[in-house]
């Protein structure tokens, strides 16, 4: 039995854990986005991935544009605070990318069900919207106690969950704080996990609202300072808003995007 997370380089972790055709989630709700890990997946030319993320933003635009994704499971796809994701938009409008679309509440519950080891989650949502007409992972269910009509969504079936955190200790215990989104569920709900961290320290100390993922639930820890740029890592660096704005032009033009990909 594994007793602690292995600490390796990011290229090794991606090469060993991410396989073509896998269902992979890279999470971080505008904060602590695992951008470096996503770009490593692009460099290693992984293919036919089913990419999962509540808020596919710049790094998913890059993964989609680079041809890594067969399918996207998501709830909001945009460049936050800026506008559209042009590679994502072009792929969907051209019918080149299969999509499975939910609301945030639906996705959050699918992660929670995966982390809970349950086959599905139940929520009061989706009634009256057009989403169930187009997404077959949204089904009505009747409460056995009250008869209320609710909605069931299946647990996400994640091969690999990838997040970025502020730090880990040398045994691979991971600590993250600030707005931590669905990162805990992403690691607990996946068969294999990669956590990139700003730094590896001798000892973790207390931080308000911090989430600690103990070493025995994490597969790999990789020290990647700046691994969430251009998003932010609370107490390490701020969001680079100019990079988000600049991405709009790169992503809009196919030739510009090809140049970007070449340089990666």
């Amino acid at each position: 039995m594994r007793t602690h997370a292995e600490i390796t380089s990011l290229p090794d972790a991606v090469a060993d854990l991410v396989r073509d055709g896998d269902v992979v989630a890279l999470e971080g709700f505008t904060h602590l986005i695992p951008v470096a890990a996503g770009q490593e997946i692009i460099r290693q030319r992984k293919r036919d991935l089913t990419l999962v993320r509540m808020t596919p933003d710049i790094v998913y635009d890059q993964l989609i544009g680079a041809g890594c994704a067969r399918k996207l499971i998501f709830s909001w796809g945009g460049n936050p605070g800026v506008g559209s994701l042009h590679r994502f938009r072009a792929a969907v409008q051209a019918g080149e990318l299969e999509i499975e679309e939910h609301s945030h509440a639906g996705m959050a519950n699918r992660y929670a069900a995966a982390a809970s080891g349950l086959p599905f989650a139940v929520l009061r949502g989706y009634n009256g919207t057009s989403l169930p007409d187009h997404t077959d992972t949204i089904k009505p269910i009747t409460c056995p106690f009250t008869g209320e009509r609710l909605t069931a969504v299946p647990a996400l079936d994640l091969d690999v969950g990838i997040i970025h955190a502020q730090r880990a200790d040398r045994q691979g215990n991971v600590q993250l704080w600030g707005q931590t989104g669905v990162q805990k569920e992403t690691v607990l709900g996946a068969r294999r996990s990669i956590v990139t961290v700003e730094e590896i320290v001798d000892e973790l100390d207390e931080k308000p609202y911090s989430v600690v993922l103990p070493r025995w639930v994490v597969t790999r820890v990789c020290e990647v300072p700046g691994g969430a740029r251009p998003s932010y890592a609370q107490d390490y660096y701020d969001r680079d808003n100019d990079a988000y704005k600049a991405w709009d032009a790169t992503s809009r033009d196919e030739a510009e995007f090809a140049k970007w990909l070449e340089a990666l």
Partner: protein
């Protein structure tokens, strides 16, 4: 005018759910004018955020740093939105119909969209479960359509009794604030009626910017122009 009017809606509200853009400007303006104690809830997890400037995104670091509490995202939706703990939710729209149903998903056919929009995000459950919803959207024939191409978030469905039939617990959209005025659902038909025009706007402009035959309230009113105080607070907020 839209953000000033949005802020005014929050005078007696305890907690409001905020998105980025005009809703965020309105809610933050309310904290600086009519309601300093207003609890701002952002979907990335911040409850009771007190941002000193307008956040860049819904997960902006200062929201977490100034919050009373930071919840996980599953908790935000399951414990805070779903039980109806939040009185007002602010939503935007790419398309809106006469029953205030909202589309932020696709323009055109779903499988072969003319325009692929970002999608649902937190909006469907906000529309379903917040005490009431205030929609903030610029009025134009492209946005104010006879039928939305996709119902992302339910307003008043197909009219009277629709929300009850669907089991939606919140009141749904009670106001639509636009750059031209304010629309409110008729108490019986649930169809949006123009109840207010902003100063200097006339009925013909509002009709021309609406893709259906817009009904006008008998007692159509003019919104109060922004006060000096409101304008000063807004300028300070935008410059911060």
């Amino acid at each position: 005018m839209m953000s000033v009017e949005a802020a005014r809606q929050l005078r007696d509200v305890t907690a409001c759910f905020v998105g980025i853009g005009l809703p965020s400007t309105g809610a933050n303006l309310a904290r600086r004018t009519v309601n300093p104690d207003l609890v701002l809830v952002y979907e990335a997890g911040a409850i009771g955020a007190k941002p000193p400037r307008l956040p860049l995104s819904i997960g902006d670091g200062m929201l977490g740093e100034t919050a009373d509490y930071i919840a996980s995202v599953p908790e935000i939706f399951n414990y805070w939105v779903q039980p109806g703990r939040i009185e007002v939710g602010f939503l935007g729209a790419a398309q809106l119909d006469r029953y205030a149903n909202i589309n932020t998903t696709v323009v055109g056919d779903y499988a072969h969209p003319k325009v692929r929009l970002p999608g649902a995000g937190g909006a469907p459950e906000i529309a379903a479960s917040c005490g009431e919803v205030v929609v903030i959207v610029r009025q134009s024939p492209r946005a104010f359509v006879e039928r939305v191409d996709f119902i992302t978030s339910v307003g008043h469905g197909d009219g009277p009794g629709a929300r009850e039939r669907l089991g939606l617990r919140g009141k749904g959209p009670t106001k639509v604030i636009t750059d031209l005025g304010i629309l409110e659902p008729h108490p019986e038909s649930r169809e949006l009626v123009l109840t207010h025009l902003h100063p200097g706007v006339d009925v013909e402009q509002a009709r021309a910017a609406t893709g259906w035959d817009l009904k006008i309230a008998d007692d159509l009113q003019t919104t109060e122009p922004p006060t000096e105080e409101e304008l000063k607070a807004l300028r300070e907020l935008l410059a911060a």
